[in-house]
Amino acid sequence: MTLPLRDRIEADAVLTDLYLDALLAAQARRATDVPSSTDLDPTIRFAAGRLSSDLARVHPSFRFEERLAARLAEVASRMRLAAAAGGGDMPALADSGVDPALDPAFAPGLDPAADPEGSHLARPLLIGGALTSAALSLAGAAYVAWRRTHPAVPPMARAVRAVAQARLTQGGRPRGLA
């Protein structure tokens, strides 16, 4: 029985897939014997063999690896600080060039135009600090204004007033005075 072309291609693709699984597994365990499949097209076997040996995994430089590790650690510590300070969700990286709408891996609502990873992480702290200092400034200004309209009473005047009040309420010496 002959399969229709589409089914034949799909059947061949399954054979190829199984062969690749075996080939890559053999390489991973450094086996010298290469799996053979008589059903598989020899040209596919040839190409797979060539690519498995010639397409090497490329490693970045040690310097780059350590530099990026340090940067990630720095960002991670900022994230922890932001979380500890009650900073909400993790922000997007503006300089990443990634449009979150392109990928469902990113939840909707991320702002691609947000600040790069540094500044926004400190923003909750900055906003809190600014609010605090602004509130202090307002309170200070109000206190100064109140003091101007309510000048301080000299200590002697306060003492005279206290004595007079004690005499009125107790009919004699103020309480606490010998």
Binding site: L20, A28, D54, L55, P60, M79, M90, D99, L102
Partner: protein, 221 residues
């Protein structure tokens, strides 16, 4: 249709998840990093070379690959809280949906970078090539030529076929994982790779024939 690797979670998926979640080999590391971002480093070290290789084979330049790798990991770190595992029994024992998620980020970063650079990979192969051994220069030269020919053949493929081959051979992903990264069905990925291998075989045997016997010179590759 592509399986819903990162779709919305419905009740049925939620119920199934508790049964299959142990399949994700990165689960412990991911959960640790989600609790404490400083614990992201083991994941970074595990996948650095894979992400970098993918970016390098796509962009064809070390500096561009470094940029793409850096952005990919920064995005992964800052968005890790949003990652949700979707492992299935069919994905196999070594499956990692975190790896699929990471490579989807990488794919987006690389696509965006390529759009910005308006550049196609030129396969400089300076990293793939090995340092010549003075005792075996001839063999090394042949190996280097072979590697260059293989990469040229891959580089001439359409983008989706090239990407699938790089993920399969360089990053050693399963068909299910590649389907998750590329957003296609596993069947479509199998056919994509099968056709890509046919094209590469034609290209390689054609170029070999061209280099080989003088009588075959001039035959189209």
């Amino acid at each position: 249709m592509a399986r819903p690797v990162f779709g919305k979670v419905n009740a049925r998926q939620e119920a199934g998840r508790s049964r299959v979640a142990h399949l994700d080999r990165d689960r412990t590391l991911v959960e640790a990093a989600q609790r404490n971002p400083s614990a992201f480093e083991p994941l970074y070290r595990r996948y650095l070379a894979q992400v970098y290789s993918y970016a390098y084979y796509e962009l064809g330049d070390h500096h561009d690959a470094e940029d793409a790798t850096e952005r990919t990991f920064l995005l992964a770190l800052t968005h890790l809280g949003r990652f949700e595992e979707r492992a299935r029994p069919a994905d196999g024992a070594g499956a990692s949906t975190f790896r699929v998620w990471l490579f989807r980020i990488a794919r987006n970063v690389v696509s965006n970078q390529r759009r910005t650079l308006r550049r196609h990979p030129e396969a400089p192969l300076d990293a793939v090539a090995v340092m010549p051994d003075p005792l075996d220069v001839e063999r090394r030269a042949v190996e280097r030529e072979d590697a260059a020919a293989a990469w040229s053949a891959v580089g001439r493929l359409p983008a989706d076929r090239r990407r699938a081959l790089v993920l399969r051979f360089v990053d050693e992903m399963t068909t299910a994982e590649i389907a998750g990264v590329l957003g296609r069905s596993e069947n479509a990925v199998r056919v994509l790779i099968h056709r890509a291998l046919r094209s590469v075989a034609r290209d390689l045997t054609g170029s070999r024939r061209g280099e080989g016997s003088p009588g075959e010179e001039g035959r189209p590759a």
